[in-house]
């Protein structure tokens, strides 16, 4: 999947969970600035896994700081077998 599609998908998920317009979310936006706390991040991760058909390691997702961090991770992760 091209990275811009991943970015669009992540932006849509974040906008939904944070209750923020997608127009206000850029790749550099920090998740903390969107008001995404740890419990909201669980929602984001599970939604992203379902949408992109992959598993995001519990060792990795707590380190996502920006929209781009999450996008890059998903872009580089393999598809589920």
């Amino acid at each position: 999947m091209p990275q811009d599609q991943v970015l669009a998908g992540i932006t849509e998920i974040l906008g939904g969970v944070a209750g923020i317009s997608q127009a206000d979310i850029t790749p550099e936006t920090s998740l903390a600035d969107l008001g995404i706390d740890s419990l909201m991040m669980v929602e984001v991760v599970v939604a992203a896994e379902d949408r992109f058909g992959l598993l995001i390691s519990d060792d990795d997702w707590p380190r996502f700081k920006t929209v781009l961090d999450a996008t890059r991770y998903i872009d580089q992760a393999g598809e589920w077998p």
Partner: protein, 407 residues
Amino acid sequence: MVRIGIVGAGIGGLSLALALRERGLQADVFEQAPELTEIGAAIGLAANAIREFDRLGLAGELTAASTIPTELIYRHWRDGSRIAAHPVRQDDWYARQFGAPWFGVHRADLQKILSAAFGAEHVHLGCRLVNITEQADSVVLEFANGRTHVADLVVGADGVRSVVRRWITGADDMVYSGTSAFRGIVPTENLPSLPDPHAIQFWMGPDAHLLHYAIGGAGEAVNFFAVVETPSIWLHDSSVTEVADEVPVASFRGWHPAVTEMIDAASSPIRWGLFTVRPLLRWYRGRVVILGDAAHGMLPHHGQGANTSVEDAFALAGLLASARGDDLEATFSRYQVLRRARTRKIQRSSQVTSALLHLPDGPAARARDAKVAAVPQDFGWIHEYDVQRALEASGVVSVGHSRNEAR
């Protein structure tokens, strides 16, 4: 008739056996223990599991053995102040909101009710699974006592240390959480310092918390679960280890007297390592599938380990019953799709909750305290879940008969 073998006669395994029977399918249950004895601890049954047991006609027996908490209360670890409180039994709030009650019940009582409902004929004790062999159209289970059993399909309900899971994934997917717990059951009359003894309460403090709720038909005892952020590495083969007598209470030095009094009164110097199962890619291989802790072992901080096992059991039973003659792989795949995202979300939410319960006094704890005021709204999705509705929504036609209608 399809031959179904269930490995493990815990809450998940017995629930599956009962759910299958309700759908007209017979299973054999294999349990490694020589007799059915649950650990000396309690469990909180939530609406998402109770509505299933209710359909089986078990609500009366469960009610007689259980306590419904008055409220859900969050307290400060040292001064005991009420940070937030939500009604449970008060105004029948929880049952009205989620369609079924919340019960505190001793695990042994629950197991007795489930095993009595299923009967002993198809429960095989002293059968520790040592090997699984897949044949062209069956699976052979081999047990340490020399017995073997041939089944058309096998369900591993054998807990966080699942032998069946290891066969499916080929790996050890169990993870030590870096937290451990002391637990105990204390007669309510031995807890003079405890405010609201019939509430379910979280006492939250630095690097630790204590949860308790009452159990028994009259709330005559209090079950507690006290979690600490040690040891950082678990060095024991077993999930439990003995500690010196003073260790449990010393781990809560400086906490409110109600907390130390409770831990002291239990005097059971056992430390339980808390383990989880990392989210798995696959819950099945060939004719073999897993449910409950075997598939998604989680931290207990939403009180959902057993409740999600019950959900798994009824979901799997519904899918198997509606797929007779179908390709087994397709059925297992549907089961995995139905169950995986929800259980993964609860697993991770429990993990995040662990850290939130253990914040030191300060700005982060104050932000957390503001959030626990909204717990019934934020976590309603866990309790309102209805397996039968989820099955219907996924396109599986519900057999939908209750025990009474089936007669």
